[in-house]
């Protein structure tokens, strides 16, 4: 499972970066989405993969029964997903406005202020 996740994370990062370096701004968004998914899964994997139960403390007990899953990485991922969602939503609007202003989705044409 660990190996599978590692390959998946690596694949997502590779695909994300490949899409980002393409010239199309639509593929740019796709690439950024894949990149953030890769980062989320990486947090999940690095938090440790165990066959365990939810970290709930029984009434009267002081600690959850072991083995239990670490809730912190899951909280981090939840936060990151929400932030990533907002960012992607903004990015889509930005890209569509940029497409209207420049008239092409080719990033090589986005050089109006460079000279």
């Amino acid at each position: 499972m660990k190996l599978l996740l590692a390959l998946l994370v690596g694949g997502l990062f590779a695909a994300g970066i490949y899409l980002i370096v393409r010239r199309s701004i639509v593929k740019l968004i796709m690439g950024l989405i894949l990149l953030s998914h890769g980062a989320n899964l990486l947090i999940f994997a690095s938090g440790g993969l165990v066959r365990a139960q939810a970290p709930l403390v029984e009434a009267g007990a002081l600690a959850p029964e072991t083995p239990h899953a670490d809730p912190v990485p899951q909280a981090l991922i939840l936060t990151a997903i929400v932030i990533g969602f907002g960012v992607v939503a903004f990015m889509m609007v930005l890209v569509s406005r940029a497409y209207m202003a420049v008239g092409t989705d080719d990033t090589d044409e986005f050089t109006g202020t460079d000279h």
């Binding site: 980002i20 950024l32 947090i43 690095s46 960012v87 202020t113």
Partner: protein, 514 residues
């Protein structure tokens, strides 16, 4: 425990909320916005006054004690950064009232500015690495909107590059935080410092170094260091001048702050590797920034490249990692934020008078001929940036070069001095082309008159110029404060003791004697 360390985050957030509630009335928004910026400045001054005694203030959010909850920590370095953010924020908000156009103001320009300030102050004060990520995202999202607000073609092109590079940086930051948690089992920065030292003692130092490099790349993109700076000159010259000034003053410095924080508090076990890379990065950043500037002919693009070269000086201090060098970094940041924001504000006034920001073209009127005061107000920060005594830039460079001499890093001394001369060259180029030259006047015609510059635009520039002169003439208190901040940065056990309690301070932690 007091609420003081969290107020610099709450005040701008509250101001932004009030501004959004009153979005129908521009006058109400402006009043609330200026009042909020003044309140932030007052709190920031209080914070600096409290930390100037060497005290480190902490606040556990929600009453959850560290390292389990999120802790806000205000040490001397964090406090002075908040003060600089507050000064820049107030100057930019006042400048915006007279300079930003109505449609942008109607589209919640002021609330966005305050959300940005909240993110920046949060980044300076948080004691939790994941909370730092969240603060980065807050300031990034508001900066995305501020950058693209107005939807001019140039802005959108710049915004695409800016957003993409910063999102890649965020993804790396997020991955690095996850790996750090997986390796060390905590997110509290003080606790990370303790755990990293333990991990190195157990022989797991190489894993920590790998994570350190991920952080270096991520913060390096945000700080615009060589070779990761290309988003900056592609975007900073496109939004309104007030927005440029806010970005130029604060955003890259948040990246520098993060580098200084993690590479003095957490990743200090393998300085032969990590800090040598930083040293190289510093020199290359200085050189590539200043050479890039020499090739530019647009006012704000020249200034943008100079942000990059100045970032090199700040990184040089933290790379040398001696008490004097780190004090030099703190001093340099203080000087740089004030001066850089000011130069972008002056660029706005010059654009207004000349009708163009192109240095190659003759403007409508010569700035020096029609508005000599504006020209002088440019000269002060420009000379300060180049390091001409007795302005603040001279002392900032002097401290860093002295620290490099003490370490026998003569190559870096030479680079720093040469880059200073090249900066002077760029500034005189701007002076000659944009301020000194007047368009030719045909016989029989009277020269064109410049519009009067509104007081709302001149006052912030004059105050910021006054600050750089004041720091230059009375450098000692600022230097003493920088030394105090550097002492705290180089002795992580001080920070750890304040944030977690003395029980966590272990002998495994190496501190550098001040």
């Amino acid at each position: 425990m007091s609420a003081l360390p969290i107020l610099p985050v709450l005040i701008p957030l509250g101001t932004a909320c009030l501004g959004m509630l009153g979005h129908r009335s521009l006058r109400a928004q402006q009043t609330v916005s200026v009042a909020g910026a003044v309140a932030l400045l007052v709190v920031a001054v209080g914070l600096v006054a409290r930390t100037a005694t060497g005290e480190i203030l902490t606040m556990d959010a929600g009453g959850w004690s560290a390292p389990f909850g999120i802790t806000f920590v205000a040490d001397a370095f964090g406090a002075i950064m908040v003060l600089l953010a507050a000064v820049t924020g107030l100057a930019v908000v006042v400048y915006s009232v007279a300079s930003v156009d109505l449609p942008r103001k109607r589209f919640l320009y002021y609330p966005l500015t305050h959300v940005l300030l909240a993110g920046v102050c949060g980044a300076f004060l948080t004691g939790d690495i994941f909370n730092l990520y969240v603060c980065f995202e807050i300031l990034l999202l508001s900066s995305f909107v501020l950058l693209s607000l107005g939807s001019e073609r140039g802005q959108l092109e710049g915004a695409i590059k800016y957003v993409t590079l910063n999102l890649i940086s965020s993804a790396i930051f997020l991955s690095a935080s996850g790996l750090l948690y997986g390796t060390l089992g905590t997110l509290n920065m003080a606790h990370l410092s303790v755990r990293a030292a333990e991990a190195v003692a157990e022989g797991r130092g190489h894993v920590v170094t790998v994570v350190a490099m991920l952080f270096m790349v991520s913060f390096g993109i945000k700080a615009a260091v060589f070779p990761l700076f290309f988003w900056l000159p592609a975007s900073y010259h496109t939004p309104p001048f007030a927005v440029s000034a806010l970005f130029a003053g604060l955003l890259t410095k948040v990246g520098v702050y993060a580098i200084v924080r993690v590479f003095t508090l957490i990743f200090v076990h393998d300085t032969g590797y990590t800090h040598t890379i930083l040293l190289w990065v510093a020199a290359l950043t200085m050189v590539s920034g200043v050479l890039g500037a020499a090739a530019q002919t647009e006012f704000r693009r020249v200034l943008s490249f100079h942000i990059i070269s100045q970032i090199g000086y700040m990184i040089l201090g933290v790379a040398l990692l001696t008490p004097l060098a780190v004090a030099g970094t703190v001093f340099y940041i203080v000087h740089h934020i004030v001066v850089k924001a000011n130069l972008f504000l002056v660029a706005g006034v010059a654009h207004r008078i000349r009708g163009t920001s192109d240095l190659g073209r003759a403007g409508r009127v010569g700035v020096y001929a029609s508005a000599p005061l504006v020209a002088i107000l440019f000269m002060i920060p420009a000379m300060s940036l180049a390091g001409v005594p007795p302005l603040s830039g001279f002392w900032a460079k002097l401290i860093l070069i002295r620290a490099a001499l003490d370490e026998r890093a003569y190559v870096y001394v030479a680079v720093a001095l040469l880059v200073g001369i090249m900066t002077l060259f760029s500034m005189t180029k701007i002076w000659a082309e944009a301020f000194w030259k007047s368009p030719e006047v045909k016989e029989g015609e009277s020269p064109a008159k410049a519009d009067r510059t509104p007081m709302g635009m001149l006052a912030p520039i004059a105050v910021l110029a006054g600050i750089t002169v004041a720091i230059g003439l009375a450098a000692q208190p600022v230097f003493e404060f920088s030394v105090l901040a550097a002492g705290q940065l180089l002795n992580p056990e001080v920070y750890v003791g304040a944030a977690l309690g003395e029980a966590f301070v272990t002998p495994a932690q190496g501190g550098v004697e001040p």
